[in-house]
Structure formats: structure tokens, C-alpha cells
């Protein structure tokens, strides 16, 4: 494979959720996203931020092969997406761990589906769990874990089969602010150490700026790209970074764009 391939390439992407019924009880068609053009390069950490309901998750689901675009094309590593791919790891807002499996077995789930459970895979998962601060929890059940730990298990599961692309849909959305901040630092470290390409969906501006090499701002529904901000920080991000004026400036830039798109639609 050539190294010049884009990790993700979205061109003229549009998705419409079909309505149903007729007359007064009819549910109208909803255009979730339109004209989305976006490329993610290998090794990047790209965040997509936007107001709620702007179709962020829809874009992610189309990349994951869970939804088909109404128009436009989705390419992952140069190939058109026709369904779920085994080289994509995904973590959603809910951890969705299987309660009857322990932590190790939950993480191995994708590996198992792909028929590749080997000693090496177990070792890789052990390494991931250790990096996620979950060493020693391998044989615990999800109910014995806190919300933050479950979410970290979900991220380890996403990385378990060594995917080239990591898709994250608000994985920390249900966590409290303090835990979330810690998770972000952990995620940054995992991303640096595993050298994956990552795409994060979030409505947290600071979270996006803290984690990303590029922040894509979407408009209100139908969501379309209104701005791409490139935080000029080194790959390693720290909590201290968040209190610097540079960080505040970039955050402000993103916030302004979000707000501008808001007003435009409102007026």
C-alpha cells in the first residue's frame, strides 16, 4: 500500500434519513449532513465538533460502514466503504461492554469475531489495558468497574485487533468533567504510543482542541464543514496546556465558528 493514501476521504457526503407515513402523522425526511468534504491523513487525530443534532454521529457511522451515504463517497485507506471493516476500531458513547464477559474477554471480542485469538493478541490486549491503567482488572466483570474504567475498556476493545483507524463517538460524553479530563490525557498518550489514526466526534470544544491535530467544525443540521482549525501544539498534550493563552485562543477560534454558524441558522 502506498503511504500517500488518505486514511479517510469523504467527498460530497450527504445523508438523508427517510421519513415515513403520509398526511398529518407523516415523519418528514431529515437531511442530517450535506456536502461534507474531509480527508484524514495517516497518523492524524481529527476531531469533529458541532452542535447537537448536526449529524456528527451520522458521519462516523458512514465511515464505520453502519450507514450508507445518500450521496457522495466514503473511502477508507483508498477503498470505498461498503460495510464494516476489520481494520477499523470503534468506541461509542455507551461503553456497551458485554456484562457476562470479563474485561479481557470483552477486549478480545473483536479479535474473536475475526478469528484471531492468539497468545500474541492476548499480550497486545494486556499491554493496552496496562497503558489504559487497567492492569490487574483483566478478570473483573463490567459491573465491578466505574464508568470511566468501562469507557477505557471500550477504547482498549476498539484497539484490540490492532486497527489502523480508530473511530470515537463521544466516548467520554457520559463522564463527569474531572474524569473526562483525565481520560483525555490518557487517550492522548494511547494515541501517541500506538501511532494510530483517530477520528473523534465530540461536542466538547476544549476536548477537541486538547486532543486533536485538526479540529473540524460543523454547522447546525444539515451539518457541513464550516471551518478547520489546526491547533499548533506538539503531539504530547498535558493538562497544563489547557491553561495557556495559546490554548484559549485556539478554543476561542473554534467557539467563534460554532457560534457564527449558530447565528446564521438562527437568523
Amino acid at each position: 500500500m502506498s503511504t500517500e493514501e488518505h486514511a479517510v476521504e469523504l467527498a460530497g457526503l450527504r445523508h438523508v434519513f427517510a421519513g415515513r407515513g403520509r398526511g398529518r402523522r407523516a415523519v418528514r425526511d431529515v437531511e442530517a449532513v450535506k456536502d461534507v468534504d474531509l480527508t484524514v491523513e495517516p497518523g492524524e487525530f481529527v476531531s469533529i465538533v458541532g452542535p447537537s443534532g448536526c449529524g456528527k454521529s451520522t458521519i462516523l457511522k458512514m465511515i464505520a460502514g453502519l450507514l450508507r451515504p445518500t450521496e457522495g463517497s466514503v473511502r477508507v485507506w483508498g477503498e470505498p466503504v461498503t460495510g464494516p471493516r476489520r481494520d477499523i476500531g470503534i468506541a461509542l458513547q455507551d461503553a456497551t461492554l458485554l456484562p457476562w464477559r470479563d474485561v479481557m474477554s470483552n477486549c478480545l471480542f473483536p479479535v474473536e469475531l475475526h478469528g484471531k485469538v492468539t497468545g500474541a493478541a492476548r499480550e497486545r490486549v494486556s499491554g493496552l489495558l496496562e497503558r489504559a491503567g487497567l492492569a490487574g482488572f483483566e478478570s473483573r466483570r463490567p459491573k465491578e468497574l466505574s464508568g470511566g474504567m468501562r469507557q477505557r475498556v471500550a477504547i482498549c476493545r476498539a484497539l484490540a485487533d490492532d486497527p489502523r483507524l480508530l473511530l470515537l463517538d463521544e466516548p467520554f460524553g457520559s463522564l463527569d468533567a474531572l474524569t473526562r479530563e483525565q481520560m483525555n490525557i490518557d487517550l492522548n498518550r494511547i494515541w501517541r504510543e500506538t501511532e494510530k489514526t483517530a477520528l473523534l466526534i465530540t461536542h466538547g470544544i476544549d476536548e477537541a482542541v486538547l486532543l486533536s491535530t485538526r479540529v473540524v467544525v460543523l454547522s447546525e443540521r444539515p451539518g457541513t464543514v464550516v471551518e478547520v482549525v489546526t491547533p499548533p501544539f506538539p503531539k504530547e498534550r498535558t493538562k497544563e496546556l489547557m491553561s495557556t493563552p495559546e490554548f484559549a485562543e485556539v478554543s476561542g477560534q473554534v467557539r467563534d465558528r460554532l457560534f457564527a454558524s449558530d447565528v446564521k441558522v438562527g437568523g
Binding site: 464494516p84 470503534i90 455507551d94 461492554l97 456484562p99 474473536e112 469475531l113 466483570r141
Partner: protein, 284 residues
């Protein structure tokens, strides 16, 4: 910032937290006694009350047998021998019926859950048969299958079948969509989704369906014995005592039936639940 919260550090003598009091009630034996004693005491008082009322008002043993008479019957060798044999006969029919009926019921439920066409075609019939008072089918069953064990376990199987179908179907239709979507995102095929997501998620629902099936199988076996004169078992024993107007013995059989019911439904299923405990955990 807020100076008020900065209280000066006080030296408090370190004290060990008080050891939790270990009362008799918190021990395993104490717990069992605490759970069993009150109902036992009330039950005993009830039995005593009945005994007193019967002897005080000289109620005939043909109407309500005195508890002492029932105990006397239950301790007699001839009753124990008859009841031992009959209980085995009834339970054999119940078990065979349960395995066949509930087993095929769970399979059909799974098939209906997985195949829209099968569900679409068969569901009306399942509902129709479910609404039929199936006990009314006992004479027809006897006509077709004779008066022996076959008729008994077939009837038990029929009663056990429908609760298993309905419970299985319901269990599969409530499998969390998010789990299935997660599996799909990791490129799980249909079989993998069924085996690794739907089936384990449905276990609690299926087990509670099986519990109902088991109780229904026992009803089926007894009704089968009522209808088939040569079928033997506790149902026939009940009829025999009834014809002999031996009410105390009838009540003794009822006590045995109750014990059998408790044994199979509560004790057996608490073992099954313990064995499948990890599927009963709910977690996001």
C-alpha cells in the same frame, strides 16, 4: 480563594474504627433461621388452629381431615410406598414432557426470533393455541396416544411448549440494539451476532420461561393422569383415594404435590440461576 474552608489542622487521637458487631443474625445460620422461623411459626399456628377448630366443633374427617389424621396417613408404610412409586411416575412424565416441550419451544422461539418469515407465518397460530384452554385437549390426547406414559408426557410437553416459545421470543426481541450495533461495527456476521450477543442476552428471559414451563409440565402430567385411568402416578392415586372417600389420604397427596412443586420450581431453578448467574448481570 476561600479562606473559610482552611480549618487549622487539629490533632485528633487516632482511634480504631469500631469492629462491626457480629450478631447471631448476621451469620449464615442466623440468617437462615431468621428467614425460616417466622413463616414456620405462623404455619404451625395455622395447623394448630385448624386442629382445635376441628376437634372443638367435631367436624367430620370426610369434610376436612384433621392435621393429625393427615400426619398419621403420611407416616404409614403403605402410603409411603404408594406415594413413592406414584411420585416417581408423575415426575418422570413431567421431566420427559418438560425436556421435549420446553426444548422444542425454545428452539421454535429462536427460529421465530431470527426469521421474520417464520415469525410472520407462525405467530398467529402460537397465539391461537396459547389462548386455547389446553386442558380441554386431554381427552383427545388420550384417544390418540392411549392411557400410558406416552400420553402423559406428551400432554405435559404440550403445556410446557407454549410458555417456552413466548418467553424465548420475548427474550430475543428485547436484546439491546446497541450491543448488536457494536458487534456489527466489528464486522460480526449473523451467526456471530446470534451466538455471541443475542443468545447470552436472552438467557435470563429464557430461564424464566423455563420456570413457567416446568410448572406447566407438572400440571400436564397430573391432568394426564386424571384422564388416563391406567397412567398411574399421583393423579391416579388422588382419584383412587377420592373414590374411597379417604380425604386424609387425598390431602396427604396434595402435600406431596406441593413439596414436589417447590422442589422442582424453586430449588431446581435456583441451581440453574446460580449456574447462569453471569448472564443475569445487567450493565451498560
Amino acid at each position: 480563594m476561600n479562606k473559610v474552608t482552611e480549618a487549622p489542622e487539629r490533632r485528633v487521637p487516632r482511634r480504631e474504627p469500631p469492629a462491626p458487631r457480629r450478631s447471631f443474625r448476621s451469620g449464615p445460620l442466623g440468617k437462615a433461621a431468621f428467614l425460616l422461623l417466622p413463616p414456620l411459626a405462623v404455619g404451625l399456628a395455622g395447623v394448630l388452629l385448624i386442629q382445635l377448630v376441628i376437634s372443638r366443633f367435631e367436624i367430620s374427617g370426610v369434610v376436612i381431615p384433621a392435621p393429625t389424621d393427615i400426619f398419621a396417613v403420611m407416616r404409614s408404610d403403605i402410603f409411603l410406598e404408594q406415594v413413592g412409586q406414584s411420585t416417581w411416575e408423575t415426575w418422570k412424565a413431567t421431566l420427559i414432557g418438560f425436556v421435549l416441550g420446553a426444548g422444542s419451544g425454545v428452539l421454535l422461539g429462536m427460529l421465530m426470533a431470527e426469521s421474520r418469515i417464520v415469525r410472520f407465518v407462525l405467530y398467529p397460530y402460537v397465539v391461537a393455541f396459547q389462548s386455547l384452554p389446553k386442558i380441554a385437549l386431554a381427552p383427545v390426547c388420550a384417544l390418540w396416544l392411549g392411557f400410558g406414559l406416552t400420553m402423559k408426557f406428551s400432554f405435559a410437553a404440550m403445556l410446557a411448549f407454549f410458555p417456552a416459545v413466548i418467553a424465548t421470543l420475548a427474550a430475543f426481541s428485547t436484546v439491546a440494539e446497541s450491543r448488536l450495533e457494536m458487534a456489527t461495527a466489528f464486522d460480526a456476521n449473523r451467526r456471530q451476532r446470534f451466538v455471541r450477543i443475542s443468545l447470552p442476552s436472552a438467557v435470563p428471559g429464557i430461564v424464566s420461561g423455563l420456570e413457567i414451563s416446568m410448572a406447566f409440565a407438572l400440571i400436564g402430567a397430573i391432568v394426564g393422569e386424571f384422564v388416563a385411568p391406567s397412567a398411574g402416578g399421583l393423579g391416579q392415586l388422588l382419584l383412587t383415594y377420592s373414590e374411597a372417600i379417604n380425604v386424609a389420604a387425598e390431602f396427604s397427596v396434595l402435600v406431596v404435590l406441593m413439596l414436589l412443586g417447590v422442589l422442582q420450581n424453586k430449588i431446581l431453578f435456583s441451581v440453574i440461576r446460580a449456574g447462569t448467574e453471569r448472564f443475569f448481570e445487567s450493565s451498560r
